[in-house]
Point group: C2
C-alpha cells in the first residue's frame, strides 16, 4: 500500500523520530507536521494537548496517511489513549516502544524516566513499564530546562552539565540501571547525561519507535511496496523561516521545503 | 466611564503589569487574559503573534473594555502597530513607556535592551528609543533561558547567575548606563542582573506602562469615576489548574478565580 505515513510533534524534536523511520523504512513516503505555532506541549494541560493532537491527526487523515506516529512524548502520554478509538488507522506513540526497550535492557528492574512536566505527571511511562514488568521500580523526573538548553545550542555547555547534575545526580548509585530519555530533545544531551550517570543504559524512544512501526505495518499488511526512496513533506503551523538550522540538528541532514498550514482551521 | 480595562499577555508574566495598574488605578475594573494554551510568543513569527494578539483583542472588545494594555513585550514589538488601526479604542503597549523611561534615565546615551528573540529581532525598542533620542547607542540581546529559569523557580540560583554573566557580562564597562528589562519575566531577576551590571539603571516597563495608561485615560476622558476597589476577572486559554502558584509570583498576591476561554473560537 503506497499511502504515506504521518509523523507529528509539538515542534521539531520529532524529526529525531522521522530520521529513524527514514533509516528503517527508506522507501515509505513520510509527511511530518510540527506544531511550531503552539509549541511546547509539555507545560500544557491534557485537554489542550489532546485538542491540538486531534487537529493534527485530522489533518493527516485528510492527507491520506495509512498510519500516524505520535513522535511527541507529551502527546503520546496525554492524548494517545483518547485519540486511538477515534480513528480507523493505526496510531503509534513513543511511550510503549520506549518502555519495552527499557524493560528489555534493565537487570536491576529499577528504571528512571525523564521528560516534560506533562509526561512525568501523567505516569504514562511508569504505567507502560509496569504492564510489562509489574515488579519494576520506576522513578520519574521532569527536566524543564533541558529543551531550552538544547534550543540555545548549549548541548555540551558547562551550564548544561551543572543542570544535568542537579536534575539527575541524586540518582547515582540508587540502583537505576536504565534511563528513558522521554523527550525528543534529550538524545542531543546523551553524552552529558551519560557522564552524570555512568554505566546506566540510556534508552532513546526514537529508534525503538521506528522498529515498532515497521513491525506494526508488517502485521497490518501496510508496508510500502515501493523500491525507490520515499518522498517527504514537511508542514509547520508557524511560519517556516529560520526553522531549518534547528531542524538540521535533529534530522542530521538538510530539511527540504517546508509548507505552512493552519491545520484546516479556516 | 466605568467600562473595564483589558490587559493581556502570552502567559502569566503580564500579571506584573496588572499589579502596577492595580497600584496606580485601584478603582478601575480589570480583565486579564493569559494565552497559556499557546505560550510563549517570543520564539514565534510576527504573523502568528499578530494573529493571536488580534484574537485576544477581539475577545476583550466583546467584553466591553474601554482600553487595552498589551502587557506582552513580544506582542507590543511585533503586533501592536498592525493592530492599533483596527480598533477605535486606545491600545497601549509596554515598549514606548519603557523606551521613554530609559531615555529619561540615561546620561551616557548608551542603552541596553534584553528580551525574547522576537522582541530583539524586531528592533522595536531601538526604534522607540531613537525616535526620542536620535543619537542614542542601543544594543540588544535575546536571553532565551531567562524565562525558563524563572519558571523553574531559580531566580536566585547559581546557574542563573552564570547564565546572566554569559548573556550580559560582556556589556560591563562598555558605556551602557541603562538597561531595559524587555520581558515581563525579567524583573524577577532584577537582583541578579544588577550584580552582573553594577551601577546600571534597570528599567522595568511594567511601572512605566501603568503611569502611561493613567495619563492616556485622563487625556481621553476615560478614567473611572468609581471610589471603591475595582473588580478583577482572569481568563486563560489553557486549563487554569496549577497556574495559581506561578501567578502569585508575578502578582504578589493570590489570584482570584480563573475562567478558561477559547477566545470565541467556536
Amino acid at each position: 500500500m503506497d499511502a504515506p505515513i504521518g509523523v507529528f510533534d509539538s515542534g521539531l524534536g520529532g524529526l529525531t523520530v522521522l530520521r529513524e523511520i527514514e533509516d528503517a523504512l527508506p522507501s515509505e513516503d513520510l509527511i511530518y507536521v510540527g506544531d511550531t505555532a503552539r509549541v511546547p506541549y509539555g507545560i500544557k494541560s491534557p485537554e489542550t494537548v489532546t485538542r491540538y493532537s486531534k487537529e493534527i491527526c485530522d489533518f493527516l487523515v485528510q492527507k491520506g496517511v495509512k498510519a500516524i506516529v505520535v513522535a511527541c512524548n507529551t502527546s503520546s502520554a496525554l492524548a494517545l489513549e483518547t485519540l486511538r478509538p477515534m480513528y480507523s488507522l493505526p496510531l503509534l506513540g513513543v511511550l510503549e516502544p520506549g518502555a519495552q526497550a527499557a524493560v528489555d535492557a534493565t537487570k536491576s528492574q529499577a528504571i528512571g524516566v525523564i521528560g516534560t512536566e506533562g509526561t512525568i505527571k501523567s505516569q504514562g511511562y511508569a504505567h507502560a513499564i509496569r504492564q510489562r514488568l509489574p515488579q519494576a521500580k520506576v522513578v520519574g523526573r521532569a527536566c524543564p530546562l533541558f529543551v531550552p538548553l538544547v534550543e540555545e545550542g548549549w548541548a555540551r555547555h558547562e551550564v548544561t552539565r551543572q543542570v544535568a547534575e542537579i536534575y539527575l545526580g541524586e540518582w547515582r548509585g540508587n540502583g537505576i540501571d536504565t534511563l528513558i530519555l522521554g523527550c525528543t530533545h534529550y538524545p542531543v544531551l546523551r553524552g552529558l547525561i551519560q557522564e552524570v550517570l555512568p554505566g546506566v543504559t540510556l534508552v532513546d524512544s526514537a529508534r525503538e519507535t521506528a522498529k515498532a512501526l515497521q513491525a506494526l505495518l508488517a502485521e497490518k499488511g501496510l508496508l510500502g511496496k515501493g523500491e525507490k526512496r520515499g518522498t517527504r513533506r514537511f508542514f509547520t503551523t508557524d511560519a517556516p523561516q529560520k526553522l531549518t538550522e534547528l531542524a538540521a540538528r535533529f534530522l542530521g541532514h538538510e530539511l527540504g521545503p517546508v509548507e505552512m498550514t493552519n491545520l484546516g482551521a479556516d
